[in-house]
Structures are given as structure tokens and as C-alpha cells.
Symmetry: C2
Subunit: 198 residues, 2 copies
């Protein structure tokens, strides 16, 4: 079956729903998911597409929409979570390193839990250190490598690739050359991967 | 059961999916829907929340997303449809008059079909006249009344009420004081009307 590339940024609000429910959904549906952190803020600034800045009504709706949908997935977020994240770039550099070393998915999930359920912004302390320790990593080592030129460049390359594919928001799911945007399009992406149609 | 107020503007792209599938869904689910045309453009300008202006990547995605989802509802739109509509305000004034006289839903559906399936912009001719004739109305009479101060004021009052409720886009579904935004939230709104939760 066609794999699904799951493009996301730690820093995206709706991605909380996806990141916490995705492993269970993927197992149940038998689909292969590749987690691809990127810098959605860079894409949004480039494309003049900032979803919630200076939009209080839409922002309030977004939190309420997440709050209503979370129980469906067994989640109990404490909303609104701190937003936007000043540590967005570092959070995703750490995730990218994590995928090179095998703990990227675990880190993404625990840092989102702390952000959305304990009110601690991802990409900064205490969330950053505590999440790394929880997934068995040395925070000093990880943060140093995550800020190295190699990882800085790697995240920029991933972000450029996301843009080439037509990704403009997080979460997005890419099945071959079809982009599906939003937690609410996960089921569409799975259907496309399985059947080539909805 | 709590009724659902369906706030929409002729001029909204995703509302095509809702408007064409809603009567069937409402019958099947046994829910009571009140159709409420308003001027979403006014709300978007007020709130600095223009979804597709100067956003070519997001706009291309929107058309593709609608194209992929339409067959699920038995629809075959010819996309992209002409957008944005210069006759948005008149189209919705006509709809509002139509609801006072009992042909508002029929007009909304036939004008959307012409717009999305024959490529004729709603709110201007030939779409406007042909749609009115199709629902048994005299276009000259209707267009004159639709532009009268009474209907102009009525659409502005409806738009103000939509904003008071927290509506910021089309389509939106309001169940008591809960707002659900987007064609993809119709099922959430129905669940809320029936059970008070998702």
C-alpha cells in the first residue's frame, strides 16, 4: 500500500489531535505512516497565510473545536494551550534529530502532552528537558546536536520539500502527489492510500 | 430536538457541498435545519480573515479538496468555479427574500448548480435570471424587491446576528450557542443537536 507522509510542526494546534491518535489509527487501518517534521511557520510567512494572528474570533473557535473533538479520541487537553510557541524551530529540530536516532515519535507525543495537558510550551524548558529525559535522552547532548548546522540545514531541506509538495499547513498528509490538510482529513488520506479515492 | 441554524453565503466555495447534500442528510438524520443567508464577505473583511486572497497554494488545495470530496455526495462540479463572486451581496439578498416567500432553498440550490456545474457566477446573469425562472419567480420583480431598503437592511441584520453568534465563515452550523464551521463539521453539528456532544 502507498505510504502516507505525515508532515507536521510541533507548534501546530490541530496537530495535537493527530499526533496523539495517529499510532492507534495507523495500526487499526494497517497503513504505513512516515513522520516528517518541518517548519510550518516559515511556510506560512512565505505564503502570507498566518491562520490565527490578529483573528480572536477564529482563534477562540479553534480552541473550542479542538476541545469538542478531543474526547472522541480519549484526550483531555487543558485549553487554551500556550500559543504561539517561541521555541517552534528548536522543537522541530529536536524532533528531526529524534527521527534519525529512533525516538522522534515518542518525543513528539510526550512534548505535545506536556504542552496541551500541562500547559508547558514545547521547545523550551521545562517541557523540552523533561520530554527528552522521559524518552531516555540526555537533554544537553540532544539540544547541542539539534542546533548544529547539520540539523538546521536538514529542517530547512525538509521544509523546502514540504513546500514543493504543496504542503501549506500542519498537519498535512501526502499520498503520492495528493495533499490532505487538517486532522479532519486523516481519514480521507487513509482512503486515498488504500483505494486511490475517497 | 434542538434545531440547527445553517448560516451560509452564496459565494462560499465549500458551501456548495453542504447546500447540495443538506436536504438528504437532514431527512435521514431527522434534524430541523433553518437556512440563514448572510454576507460572509462583510464578516471576513471586518475580521481581517480573507481565506483565499493572494494565497494561490491554499486556493489550489481548496479546489482539489472539493473535487475529491464531491463524488462522495454524488456531485460532479466543474472546477475551479468562477471565484470570487462580484454579485455576492445581491445573490444573498435574493436568497433572503426567497426565504420570506418560500423559494429560498430551491433558489440557493439551483444557483449553486449553475455556478459550480455550468461555470456561471451566481448573483449575475444568466445565472440569476435563469435560476429565478427555474424556481417559478419573475426575475424583474424579485431583483427589484431584493435591492429594496427593506431587504438590504434585513441582510445586514442577519449578518450582524451571525457575528454576534461567533460565526466567521461559511458554511457554519449553530446549535444553541455552539458554532461549527465548515462542511466537514456538519456531522459534528448534527451529533450536538441530537446528543449535546460529539
Amino acid at each position: 500500500m502507498t505510504p502516507i507522509d505525515f508532515w507536521y510542526s510541533i507548534g501546530s494546534t490541530y496537530s495535537y489531535l493527530t499526533i496523539l491518535r495517529l499510532p492507534k489509527v495507523a495500526r487499526k487501518e494497517g497503513v504505513d505512516i512516515r513522520w516528517r517534521p518541518f517548519n510550518v511557520r516559515h511556510v506560512m510567512v512565505e505564503q502570507n497565510n498566518i491562520p490565527f494572528k490578529d483573528k480572536p474570533i477564529k482563534t477562540a473557535y479553534m480552541w473550542r473545536d479542538i476541545e469538542r473533538r478531543a474526547p472522541r479520541y480519549g484526550l483531555s487537553p487543558k485549553l487554551p494551550a500556550p500559543y504561539p510557541l517561541s521555541g517552534l524551530v528548536l522543537a522541530n529540530q529536536v524532533a528531526l534529530l529524534g527521527f534519525e536516532e529512533g525516538w522522534g515519535e515518542a518525543y513528539t507525543r510526550v512534548t505535545y502532552r506536556r504542552w496541551f495537558e500541562a500547559g508547558q510550551p514545547a521547545g523550551e524548558n521545562p517541557n523540552l528537558c523533561d520530554s527528552l529525559v522521559e524518552v531516555g535522552q540526555d537533554p544537553v547532548r540532544v539540544v547541542e546536536i539539534a542546533q548544529s548546522q547539520e540539523i538546521v540545514d536538514a529542517l530547512e531541506r525538509e521544509t523546502a520539500q514540504a513546500m514543493e509538495l504543496g504542503v501549506f499547513g500542519s498537519p498535512s498528509f501526502v499520498v503520492k502527489d495528493e495533499v490532505f490538510w487538517g486532522d479532519d482529513r486523516l481519514e480521507d488520506a487513509i482512503a486515498w492510500a488504500k483505494f486511490g479515492r475517497l
